[in-house]
């Protein structure tokens, strides 16, 4: 299962934790992070995705970034998460158009073997459906969309991501849980914003997307997985790598 992760990335601790969890599951070969896109027109937001990709040993990939709309400002959480990180995303040309990128990556998946998790505004998804060649791709490839703000005309099953999804959960991440990495964005963010708001819905959505809607998410599961160090990757090497 390939998962496209779309968020106003860097605005909430929930998204940082959700992506940590998603990448952990990727490292355990339970899923693949197919693409990461941000609705936030902010290079720091795109750069933070790059930090994750490198930190978790993910495949190098273009990062989708919306270049217009709201959310340009760098909040204190994002600023903390990217502080001191090595980031090669320096300008818009280091990023990709989110809608074209999502369409392209979906084409590489078998029918019904991809999902999209979108925790932010639905702008990138609306743009995706606006691409003339995207609709049949979305229809055939995307098994389910978990979204906080799904377009009304989305052609495959949609599960609304709401704060209620995390109701009853009390998982509380600690900076030291992420000490396996020298500069884990969550640890940096927590150090700066120890009382950052948390509703856990995005983490629940990640587990539902990857393990199925029936999967029961508990605090113990989150405690075990969210901050875990990724498994070492066995990757194929090519001549020239």
């Amino acid at each position: 299962m390939g998962v496209v992760f779309d968020a106003s990335f860097g605005d909430s601790l929930d998204d940082l934790l959700a992506l940590s969890l998603l990448y952990l599951l990727d490292s355990k070969n339970e899923c693949r992070v197919a693409a990461m896109t941000t609705t936030k027109p902010n290079l720091g937001s795109a750069g933070l995705y790059e930090v994750y990709q490198k930190l978790y040993g993910g495949r190098p990939m273009a990062i989708g970034m919306c270049t217009s709309g709201q959310g340009k400002e760098t909040g204190s959480l994002l600023a903390a998460a990217v502080e001191g990180q090595t980031i090669s995303v320096k300008s818009e040309i280091d990023t990709a158009e989110p809608h074209g990128l999502i369409r392209n990556v979906l084409q590489a998946y078998h029918d019904g073997n991809a999902a999209i998790l979108s925790t932010g505004p639905g702008g990138n998804l609306k743009d995706l459906l606006g691409l003339p060649t995207a609709l049949p791709v979305v229809k055939s490839k995307v098994k389910v969309l978990y979204a906080a703000d799904a377009p009304a005309n989305w052609p495959t099953p949609v599960v609304k991501v709401t704060a209620e999804m995390g109701a009853g959960l009390n998982y509380q991440p600690k900076a030291e849980d992420f000490a396996w990495a020298e500069k884990h964005p969550v640890a940096l963010a927590l150090a700066k914003e120890p009382n950052a708001k948390l509703n856990r819905a995005a983490m629940v959505a990640v587990l539902k997307v990857v393990r199925g809607a029936e999967f029961q998410v508990t605090d113990a599961v989150l405690q075990e997985l969210v901050a875990a160090k990724p498994a070492p990757r066995q990757r194929m090497r090519f001549f020239g790598d």
Partner: protein
């Protein structure tokens, strides 16, 4: 007041078996629409495709924006024309990637290069997409004698499996008239010459040889018309006509030399009758004829498959006996990379020769290059790893004052190559809402 009847843009010099179109001349001005002489000229478009990727380390300039620094090694032959070219970075063909179809990057990257689709993996019931040159040719082709011209330098089969299950039709053709009909390139300069300046009758190789035995210049056959025309022309037009006919004569002489050499040199393989044994000579002949075709407005759309995708052609003329394709899988061995770079540079050198010709072909107060968009590039970037992003692409010419050249423009990552094609179609006067996998027009190419 004396008035002289304007010369028709369609005037031809005719003779037995010959019909030579004329370049734009002052005497035609009154007969031409306001959109033509002496104002804007017709915009021409060509695609020059080189196979097996390019060594990007020696292709990509260090910085974006104006090309002020010395060009990288492969592009060095284009140094004198730095102000006339635009280097584009980050253009991508997603359809060239495996997606779910496994191996076959060479088949996919060429088969879908001008259509922006992923070709069907098959060598039986081929299917790609109508290529953008043919969309343009369909719409504006009626304005010229040939809606489009498809050329190449390397003989290649059209059927069978050429790359991991992909038909040779994909690796060996650039232009596609429909999803299922590729347009094989003309390889033989004599065939192209006869097509451009003959009356359309196909000659067998034997008949051609017979004719060659008694050959006179094609100009001899149209001498009567030429003299009549000259009498009606002013001194500027007379000089222009003389230069133009001289260039045709020069092509004829090149052809004759090539055919003579061919009878002496045994290339060790079957070659069409008029194909020169020498690569550079062949390239020059074909591009000289395209220049004349552009000058005379015989066609505005050309595709030129230099050699076919996956070719293992050696380049002994520059001391490289290894095949091109095997070399590109160089395993990072510096001595093999060096040879790839030399081949890439050799190709660019030939291309630079053509750019020089186009620039020298005057057209009113501008030249043919200024009024053209000649795309030079490949369907793979790194030929070793078969990558389909950041495809090596440059445009020579200004598209009739549209492209602000002398720059490197870097698009956002993953920008579809189809965005460039959509923009070029606009410039050719062909409006389509959507093409291939385009996400929009290519930003930053125009003068704005």
């Amino acid at each position: 007041m004396m008035t002289r009847k304007a010369l028709s843009r369609r005037t031809m010099l005719r003779g037995a078996g010959a019909a030579i179109a004329l370049p734009a001349m002052d005497a035609m001005a009154p007969a031409l629409r306001a959109s033509q002489l002496p104002g804007p000229k017709p915009v021409r478009m060509a695609f020059v495709y080189v196979p097996n990727g390019i060594d990007m380390r020696n292709w990509t300039p260090a910085a974006d924006g104006p090309l002020t620094a010395e060009l990288p090694r492969i592009l060095k032959p284009l140094e004198p024309f730095k102000k006339d070219i635009t280097i584009l970075s980050n253009l991508t063909h997603n359809g060239g990637r495996a997606l779910l179809d496994g191996a076959g990057d060479h088949g996919r990257c060429c088969g879908g290069y001008l259509s922006g689709v992923q070709p069907r993996k098959t060598f039986v019931d081929i299917k790609a997409g109508i290529s953008m040159d043919q969309i343009v040719a369909n719409q504006i082709g009626s304005k010229t004698r040939f809606a489009s011209l498809e050329l190449g330098l390397e003989d290649a089969r059209q059927a069978g499996d050429c790359d991991s299950g992909y038909s040779c039709a994909y690796t060996n053709n650039l232009a596609w008239r429909s999803e299922t009909q590729p347009l094989p390139p003309i390889l033989d300069p004599r065939v192209l010459f006869e097509r451009l300046f003959g009356t359309g009758a196909e000659l067998s190789p034997e008949a051609r040889a017979q004719r060659a035995k008694y050959r006179r210049s094609i100009l001899d056959f149209v001498m009567g018309d030429t003299r009549k025309l000259e009498a009606d022309l002013g001194p500027t037009d007379r000089r222009k006509l003389d230069e133009y006919l001289s260039s045709i004569r020069s092509i004829e002489q090149q052809l004759e030399r090539a055919e003579k050499d061919n009878s002496i040199i045994n290339p060790g393989m079957d070659k069409p009758y008029g194909v020169p044994a020498d690569f550079a000579e062949h390239f020059k002949l074909m591009t000289n004829m395209i220049t004349v075709a552009f000058q005379a407005d015989l066609s505005r759309v050309v595709t030129f498959l230099v050699t076919h995708e996956g070719t293992s052609r050696p380049y002994r003329e520059i001391g490289i006996a290894d095949g091109h394709h095997p070399l590109t899988h160089h395993m990072n061995k510096p001595e093999l990379i060096e040879k790839v770079t030399q081949i890439n540079t050799y190709h660019a050198q030939q291309f630079a020769g053509w750019v020089e010709k186009l620039k020298a072909a005057k057209e009113g107060d501008s030249n043919v290059l200024e009024n053209s968009m000649i795309v030079y590039g490949a369907g793979l970037s790194d030929g070793n790893r078969h990558t389909h992003e950041d495809l090596p692409t440059l445009i020579a010419g200004n598209g009739g004052g549209y492209i602000k050249s002398g720059r490197r423009i870097t698009a956002r990552r993953e920008t579809p190559m189809s965005n460039l094609f959509l923009t070029m179609m606009d410039r050719m006067g062909v409006q389509v809402d959507h093409f291939g996998d385009a996400t929009g027009r290519l930003a930053g190419l125009d003068l704005a």
